[in-house]
């Protein structure tokens, strides 16, 4: 049996071999009636089967590719043999699923690993003729549909779909489209212009910081320390205002800018946070906190290469070398992470970590965790974050980051525990509450998610309309079962009061 499950293409059909031995062993048993009847329904039928097998084996060649269908045709058409076939397929199917998913994993390479593993079990659920058409590429689907389907689907169709797919792929207009976009030098020029303009505007934006109007703290003598007190108390909104007052008083205070940025980040306002951090770094380019926090905000906004660049600078600052010397590569405005740079930066981090030996520095582990989030290596990111937390268990920011890393790595339950820890330490942590809402959505508890988003919005101060929380809340609202019209409308119009009244 095992040889069949491990069947390899291109070799002699293993089942053919089995059939040979089956025929012979049956003949040996035949003389003794008792043994034969225990083996098969009737010995004569068994003999018939065996003889047919041997006859067909003599006449048919072992197919070069493992074709289940021709094998099935080789099996005699009598009812008992059909039952036997059914039993066999039922036995094989569970193991075949495992094989198929294994095979498709190897076949498609590591990058697609998780995707395929998800595909394999679901595709084997699909029984019937239609499934084989839909799963042209999914070999596991081909296996299952052939195994389970004893009525329809000709082999020709299955091998035909493979051929059709190959033809389709070659003839696909995609290829033509791609060539055209690049051959057309005019559009290329245009694109380049657009990119340059984008860079300009981004640089310009980086230098700006738009202050809030009517700041009650602007008259205070020492708004900075006031801001610190407020942060500790958990009043992020007012702390932010206090810090703004502080930097308005002293625009060169890099530390104040950094704290302002952190307050914005905790308040789930990454855009403002980034502006503040840029200001800070203009004054103090080596400020590690600002570099790391800026990297985090950029990562959240999908600016992965920029985030990587900040981490590179962080590393330089960490080991004490000149940050401005970090080579600023030609900014590749692609969405994909630049792997070369990533590997280089990772090497630097691992070097530093190795030098620390048995006592890992939580700051380094924190930054390393952020780094691994960039290339979606969540296993390592979680490890790093846990190390950092073990040294600083009272840092709510670390707990939130751990939670986010877990959630992005699809470990939603653990993520929720981490968020709860963060919220235990810092109950008004807007970011953690927002993340908690997202995790609830992952678990399809949309009503719960709505409640969390509502809390987050209430905690946020200043400029609620443009908050990113609203758009996520809208997704949750759409998917909430039996959501009243008024709720949906309130979310559309960013009407916080009505939403609160509806959800409570």
């Amino acid at each position: 049996m095992k040889s069949v499950v491990e069947g390899q293409c291109g070799q002699q059909n293993a089942l053919v071999g089995l059939a040979n031995t089956f025929g012979t062993s049956n003949q040996r048993v035949a003389p003794s009636n008792a043994a034969a009847s225990s083996f098969l329904p009737s010995s004569s039928l068994g003999e018939q089967m065996a003889n047919e097998f041997l006859r067909q084996q003599a006449s048919t060649m072992a197919p070069t590719s493992f074709s289940m269908k021709s094998m099935q045709q080789n099996l005699p058409q009598t009812s008992s043999s059909n039952n036997l076939a059914m039993k066999w397929t039922q036995e094989f199917t569970p193991r075949q699923n495992a094989l198929a998913s294994q095979w498709s994993n190897q076949y498609n390479g590591r990058a697609m690993d998780s995707a395929w593993r998800q595909v394999a079990p679901t595709s084997t659920m699909a029984v019937g003729p239609t499934s084989s058409q839909n799963l042209a590429l999914t070999d596991s689907g081909m296996w299952s549909s052939e195994y389970l389907d004893t009525v329809d689907t000709s082999l020709q169709q299955s091998s035909g779909t493979a051929q059709r797919w190959a033809d389709d792929f070659l003839n696909q207009e995609d290829n033509y489209g791609m060539e055209n976009t690049w051959k057309d030098s005019e559009t290329f020029e245009q694109r380049w212009e657009e990119i340059k303009q984008g860079m300009e505007s981004e640089r310009a934006m980086a230098n700006e910081y738009s202050y809030q109007d009517a700041n009650p703290f602007s008259t205070l003598a020492d708004p900075l320390s006031q801001g610190d007190i407020l942060m500790r108390q958990g009043d992020i909104g007012n702390a932010m205002l206090a810090y703004e007052a502080a930097v308005q008083k002293d625009p060169q205070d890099a530390g104040a800018w950094c704290k302002l940025g952190l307050a914005h980040a905790e308040n789930e306002k990454d855009q403002l946070a980034m502006q503040a951090f840029h200001k800070c770094l203009q004054i103090d380019p080596g400020n590690k906190d600002a570099l790391l926090a800026l990297s985090v905000s950029q990562a959240n906004e999908g600016m992965e290469n920029e985030a990587l660049h900040q981490l590179d600078k962080w590393m330089s600052s960490y080991i004490g070398s000149n940050v401005t010397q970090v080579t600023n590569q030609a900014p590749m405005y692609s969405s994909f992470l630049d792997h070369e740079t990533f590997n280089r930066v990772e090497a630097r981090f691992l070097d530093a970590a190795r030098q620390q030996g048995a006592t890992p520095d939580p700051d380094l582990q924190n930054a390393l965790g952020v780094l691994y989030n960039l290339n979606r290596n969540f296993e390592r990111a979680v490890d790093s974050m846990k190390l950092a937390i073990s040294r600083n268990p009272a840092d709510a920011r670390l707990w939130n980051r751990l939670g986010a890393t877990l959630a992005n790595g699809d470990r939603t339950a653990e993520a929720i525990s981490a968020y709860r820890e963060a919220l235990k330490l810092y109950p008004t942590y807007v970011r953690a509450r927002y993340n908690l809402g997202i995790s609830c959505m992952q678990l399809s508890s949309y009503e719960e998610a709505m409640k969390h988003f509502l809390s987050a919005l209430e905690l946020q101060k200043g400029g609620n309309d443009v908050s990113s929380i609203w758009s996520t809340m809208r997704s949750a609202a759409i998917r909430t079962a039996n959501a009243p019209e008024s709720l949906l409308r309130a979310v559309e119009t960013r009407d916080l009061a009505t939403v609160k009244a509806t959800i409570g």
Partner: protein
């Protein structure tokens, strides 16, 4: 999905700068056409083909239910593309960018 895009994170959407056409099928028959114009911010989403003169960068031909799943995140676009659950013509690179943006909208915040 239309409003997830137009009210979503503009910053990352700006990067795409293109026009995408979605041909929605119902049981194989072309039911309707939607166009997403992301060349400027904020993006525009409207029914019907893009107006004459505006070049469409890529076209996606997809079944209605699959489209819903795609937007909700239940169908992974890359996976779907590989198993030919829908067709993409034109600038695939841009479609991948769109995919990363949509994925980013749903992920947790560090």
């Amino acid at each position: 999905m239309s409003d997830e895009i137009s009210s979503g994170k503009h910053k990352s959407l700006e990067k795409i700068r293109g026009v995408v056409e979605f041909r929605i099928l119902l049981n194989g028959k072309q039911e309707c056409v939607w166009t997403i114009d992301l060349r400027n911010s904020p993006g525009k989403v409207f029914e019907g083909k893009s107006p004459a003169g505006i070049k469409v960068n890529s076209t996606v031909t997809i079944e209605d239910e699959r489209f819903v799943k795609l937007c909700l995140g239940e169908l992974d676009p890359i996976q779907g593309f590989m198993s030919r659950k829908f067709k993409v013509q034109g600038d695939i690179l841009m479609m991948q960018k769109l995919n990363t943006v949509l994925r980013g909208v749903r992920k947790s915040v560090l």
